[in-house]
């Protein structure tokens, strides 16, 4: 409701601003535009001139509150204005980016006071430093190019039509003290579960007004909001190994979060699940039908598709030099080929604000490069039709479709999922999905099948767990795998379910989507934080954006899962201190 209102107001603002000069009363935009105009004249001796300059500033406010067992462990409020600057020399066809010498340095925060001259002053110095390093990069790139027999002729930057989108600036609206109380109470519910360790309830609310100007004439002022609530706990199994579980709620605005009572209930449920998990038997290697239910299906799609739907470009490097390994999308060579069953269609549409009443966190109007969001048909009746794209041209894909939303490598922005819709033309009910799983189990003669209800996505794995996962992956020689299941159950032929622990996927990628056997008729909406790190680890990276995946439950005839090769730890020597249960 609130969201719809914001969208309406935004539209009105665009219309209003179309008439009046949009930026004259916005000190930041004015300083950015004026300094940008002057920076076009930069030239050092006979070196290349800039052909493209872009300034982007996120006027950001953040509240972060953490609570543990009824006590607040941290509560902070911060204001900062991180700046992302680009100065490209050369031209669209060949510039200083996309080589191993291309680095995009980060700049500190700009002043939090709206001071026109100081803003220009900071931009002036940053642009100067960046121009000098870009001029050096293109020289090194040219030198390397001379040693390459058949260089890649792909252009370096996709041209776009300039746009002017001015929406009202946002402010973080959150009652910090009230939320501290909510988190205290919610985290206090864990005191009834003395077997759990490391429990945490954490709220992060970010509100940012994103401003962008570039020398093509694009001027942007749009809100970028993000709020997430994490509930996490771990437990020690009798064999000393550590199991963990989490719930993540991602929304755009704090007002969209569940009510305090529901959050406390969520903690109870999660805590009970985690306690059960510690007692559950360890699953051994498994090969057979796997049903991804609800959230797990959307998590699986989010994990494999963020990788498959984005093309990677190999940076130019002198032969014999240290050329970095680029892990290409598994779908890179499959355009117009079958990548899923023909009854599946996948598209991305950031312009949708909600799905059947559920707000979509992956909604935006314009991406971080100032390119208006476009609906993209990615898989049409099983055939691959396109990729998500930023302004980084990759092979024959030379146009942006408005999906550049995270800093990429070698001077580019990286393409990210907005609202990804996975639609099935043939569906069955949820209960029929389980019946089908059991039917396969019986037909193959297995003792049981596996249903997965939650994956560790975005991951909250501990460092130890991540290291162990990486080791197992390396040992088995697989390039890719899927985030581990948090909640996986054996399903016996009589329909009985049994929670198991210690499972990991073997090699798993979007290639496996060809083997989807069946989809349910109930799409699940997964809103999540996306930072582009491996396993989308929640605490990785400096940048994050939000995405949505709308997907029904999915059944696979046969998948391989392996027992996790964790060194079981030892149980603590000292018994845990007694907890005073909170009322």
């Amino acid at each position: 409701m609130k969201k719809a209102l914001v969208a309406g107001a935004a539209l009105a603002a665009i219309l209003l601003c179309a008439a009046a000069p949009p930026i004259s009363n916005d000190v930041q935009l004015r300083a950015m535009s004026d300094e940008l105009a002057r920076s076009k004249t930069l030239q050092l001796n006979n070196l290349d001139k800039p052909y493209f300059i872009q300034y982007a500033i996120g006027d950001t406010e953040q509240v972060l509150i953490s609570a543990n067992l009824g006590g607040i462990t941290s509560s902070t409020h911060g204001r900062f204005r991180p700046a992302q600057l680009a100065v490209r020399v050369g031209d669209y066809k060949f510039d200083n980016t996309n080589s191993v010498y291309s680095r995009a340095p980060r700049f500190g925060s700009l002043p939090i006071d709206d001071d026109y001259l100081v803003f220009r002053n900071q931009l002036w110095m940053a642009t100067d430093a960046l121009y000098k390093s870009s001029a050096e990069q293109i020289t090194r790139k040219r030198n390397a190019l001379r040693e390459i027999a058949e260089p890649d002729k792909t252009p370096d930057l996709a041209p776009v039509k300039p746009v002017e989108i001015i929406q009202p600036a946002t402010k973080l609206e959150i009652d910090r003290k009230a939320w501290e109380d909510v988190l205290r109470r919610a985290s206090g519910r864990f005191t009834s579960y003395p077997g759990l360790v490391d429990s945490l309830v954490r709220l992060r609310a970010i509100s940012s007004t994103y401003r962008l100007v570039n020398t093509e004439g694009t001027v942007i002022r749009v809100p970028q909001e993000l709020t997430d609530l994490l509930v996490r706990a771990a437990a020690l199994a009798p064999d000393g190994s550590r199991v963990w579980n989490h719930r993540l709620i991602t929304v755009l605005h704090p007002s969209q979060l569940p009510a305090p009572g529901e959050i406390s209930k969520m903690v109870e449920t999660m805590a009970a699940e985690t306690s059960e998990l510690a007692k559950a038997p360890v699953e051994n290697d498994y090969s057979g039908p796997v049903l991804f239910e609800h959230e797990a299906a959307a998590q699986m799609m989010a994990s494999v598709l963020s990788d498959a739907l984005r093309l990677h470009r190999k940076p130019l490097a002198a032969p014999g030099g240290n050329s970095p390994q680029v892990l290409e999308s598994v779908w890179a060579a499959r355009l117009n080929s079958k990548v899923t069953p023909e009854w599946l269609t996948i598209s991305d549409d950031p312009l949708q604000t909600q799905f059947k009443g559920t707000p979509l966190a992956g909604h935006y109007q314009v991406d971080d490069e100032g390119v208006p969001a476009e609906r993209v048909l990615l898989v049409d009746k099983g055939a691959l039709k396109g990729f998500l794209a930023s302004r980084e041209p990759v092979r024959e894909f030379s146009a942006s479709n408005g999906h550049g939303r995270l800093p990429g490598s070698y001077g580019n922005e990286s393409a990210v999922i907005g609202n990804l819709f996975v639609r099935a033309d043939q569906t069955v009910s949820e209960s029929q999905m389980k019946s089908k799983l059991i039917a396969i189990v019986k037909a193959v003669g297995l003792k049981y099948g596996v249903v997965i209800r939650r994956l560790d996505f975005p991951s909250t794995a501990s460092l130890e767990e991540l290291t162990s996962m990486a080791r197992q992956l390396q040992k088995s020689g697989y390039a890719r795998t899927l985030n581990s299941p948090l909640l996986a159950y054996r399903v016996y032929p009589d329909g009985r379910e049994e929670l198991v622990r210690g499972l990991r996927f073997r090699d798993f990628s979007a290639k496996d989507l060809r083997d989807v056997a069946m989809a349910s008729d109930r799409p699940f909406v997964l809103n999540y934080i996306n930072n582009g790190s491996s396993f989308n680890h929640l605490d990785s990276g400096d940048d994050a954006t939000s995405s949505s995946v709308i997907c029904p439950s999915l059944l696979f005839d046969s998948l391989d899962l392996a027992r996790s090769e964790n060194e079981p730890g030892k149980l603590p020597i000292v018994a845990p201190p007694a907890l005073i249960a909170e009322q």
């Binding site: 001259l117 030892k570 020597i573």
Partner: protein, 563 residues
């Protein structure tokens, strides 16, 4: 309860406006925190002694609760506004015996057992007990593995690594005194730093500049299995200003100044701060126009503040006890006990019990060190002769007990660190006479000029607990002093060659006016607040060279001036 001193300070403040007012104590009662720590420590220790193989013989928890408020501005605009409170703890577990335990140094290497783990700000016993329990288990496992490894490794060494014991026994202590609480007036301080930083506006050649204020209240709670319980803390407010520029030949230049006080009433007036900002800006303009330094060996005067930094970096770090045990260290002074290391008219004392020196608050003050050992003055050099080292509970040679210098930043292991370094001289002359002696020395040695080091920088002069830069001293503001009556000439890019320790043995005389330098010192156990007090010193010889030049080109376009 408000202390009397605090009310007096308040009265003073009321005249100028209340920027830092006494407030109700922050949520929670620290006394109960100590009880929770002490209870859990007792429980853990008893259980680990009974069930641990091998059992621990000593344990300690140290809680650090830090409230920080800071405002920074550049050219009149606020650049950051931050308010944080964090509470966490460190865990120490010693296994084996005082003679040989898991902290035993092996081939110069030590390992870190502790890590800073968050604690509830609410004094919530559930969270606190659980956190202590989980962390104790982790540290105990690490410590027991290390001890077994050390025992094996030590057998394989030709000569056993270190004959000194690993830990000293010290009396149990009980102490509780907390600093006053404060309320930081964000708006007022923001306005002040805006106004001060705007002074740089009239210096277009200065590329980067800033003024910041940082107020910090730190409370430390400590319990150990000897039965010690210590609660103490400190308030600190720091105003800092800095400028950076590039000389026409591409040399990076910077100037810096700061004021520190344990009580804001002890800070200088706004006008004095403003004048200091102007001075920092003017000095930097002077440096931009100044000629670059040439290599020379000549006599020099180090100002009191410069000498204080030199003593801290060059001398102070070398008398830290743990360095004498570590074969990877230079061990400059290890075998020089009882020998002359400085001229006989110079003595050096470390005195953490001093709260201020001639009206300036000292950052290196504390009542008990981070191992719960009572602070005391330690005369390290008496009339030029090395008498002892700075000691934590790690014994060094004949020194079997701590002298209260075991310190750390939370999240690090404790080693011996400096406190308030005080240089005393019995050969004092006035500043004028010292200058006359310099000129005489220049003439005697037939040198073209001597040098006057007014300001120097080191790891220690930067506030932000940034990186480890100890042992380096970078001259910032240096003048050529001519013997023929020409005025002093500012030069830039002076670099000191070799170990300046040699210069210390060439001290000819000192001035009679000590100056104070306050700052943070970075080393193995993190950043700790320290002070150094020294008179200006005249050295017969110092060797300098020209600093490496970054060759950075100044900006191509002129500074944006107006709309």
């Amino acid at each position: 309860m408000r202390g009397r001193a605090w009310i007096a300070a308040l009265a003073l403040l009321c005249a100028t406006g209340e920027l830092w007012a006494a407030d109700a104590p922050i949520a929670g009662q620290p006394a109960s925190l100590i009880e929770i720590l002490s209870d859990e420590l007792g429980r853990e220790y008893a259980a680990l002694k009974a069930k641990g193989e091998p059992p621990p013989y000593y344990m300690a928890y140290a809680v650090t609760d830090e409230q920080t408020d800071s405002e920074s501005a550049t050219l009149g605009a606020l650049s950051s506004d931050s308010h944080n409170r964090a509470r966490g703890f460190d865990t120490t577990i010693r296994i084996g015996s005082e003679k040989f335990d898991n902290y035993h140094p092996y081939k110069g290497s030590r390992i870190q057992f502790t890590r800073f783990s968050a604690l509830s700000l609410d004094d919530d016993p559930n969270q606190i007990r659980r956190a202590l329990w989980e962390e104790s288990d982790r540290v105990y496992r690490l410590a027991s593995r290390r001890l077994l490894q050390l025992k094996t490794d030590d057998q394989l060494l030709a000569e056993q690594s270190d004959k000194d014991a690993d830990f000293s026994s010290e009396p149990a202590v009980q102490y509780s005194r907390l600093p006053e609480t404060y309320r930081f007036d964000t708006e007022r301080w923001a306005d002040k730093v805006r106004a001060w930083s705007a002074e740089f506006k009239s210096h277009p050649k200065i590329l980067g500049s800033g003024v910041s204020v940082r107020a910090q209240r730190e409370i430390r709670g400590f319990v150990n299995t000897d039965g010690s319980k210590v609660q103490q803390g400190s308030n600190l407010i720091r105003v800092q200003m800095e400028g950076a520029a590039i000389a026409p030949d591409g040399m990076d230049l910077e100037t810096f100044a700061s004021f520190e006080a344990a009580d804001p009433a002890h800070l200088p007036t706004d006008e004095v701060v403003r004048a200091k900002v102007r001075e920092v800006a003017n000095k930097l303009d002077g440096l931009i126009a100044a000629p670059p330094a040439e290599p020379i060996v000549c006599p020099a005067i180090l100002s009191g503040r410069a000498a204080a930094v030199f003593f801290h970096e060059i001398f102070g770090h070398r008398v830290e006890g743990h360095r004498q045990k570590d074969i990877s260290e230079g061990q400059t002074f290890t075998k020089m006990l009882g020998s002359k290391v400085l001229p006989d008219f110079v003595s050096v004392e470390f005195d953490p019990t001093l709260t201020s020196y001639q009206g300036t608050d000292l950052l290196g003050h504390y009542e008990y060190d981070d191992e719960g050992v009572k602070a005391r003055p330690v005369k390290v050099v008496d009339a030029g002769v090395l008498k002892t080292f700075l000691l934590s509970r790690s014994p060094v040679g004949e020194f079997l007990h701590s002298n209260g210098h075991g310190r750390r930043q939370s999240g690090h292991e404790i080693v011996s660190r400096q406190s308030n370094l005080i240089v005393e001289s019995s050969k004092k002359v006035s500043n004028q006479e010292l200058r006359a002696e310099l000129i005489a020395e220049i003439k005697r040695k037939s040198k073209p000029y001597g040098l006057y080091f007014e300001e120097v920088s080191s790891g220690y002069t930067t506030t932000g607990r940034r990186g480890l830069q100890a042992f380096t001293v970078v001259p910032l503001v240096v003048y050529r002093v001519y013997a023929d009556g020409r005025p002093d000439e500012l030069i830039r890019g002076v670099d000191i060659v070799g170990t300046p320790l040699a210069s210390f043995q060439k001290i000819m005389a000192t001035s009679d006016t000590p100056e104070v330098f306050n700052g943070y010192c970075g080393a193995e156990s993190g950043q700790v607040p320290v002070s150094a007090v020294s008179p200006a010193i005249l050295v017969s010889e110092i060797e300098t060279q020209k600093k490496q030049n970054s060759q950075r080109k100044p900006p191509l376009l002129p500074r944006p001036e107006s709309e």
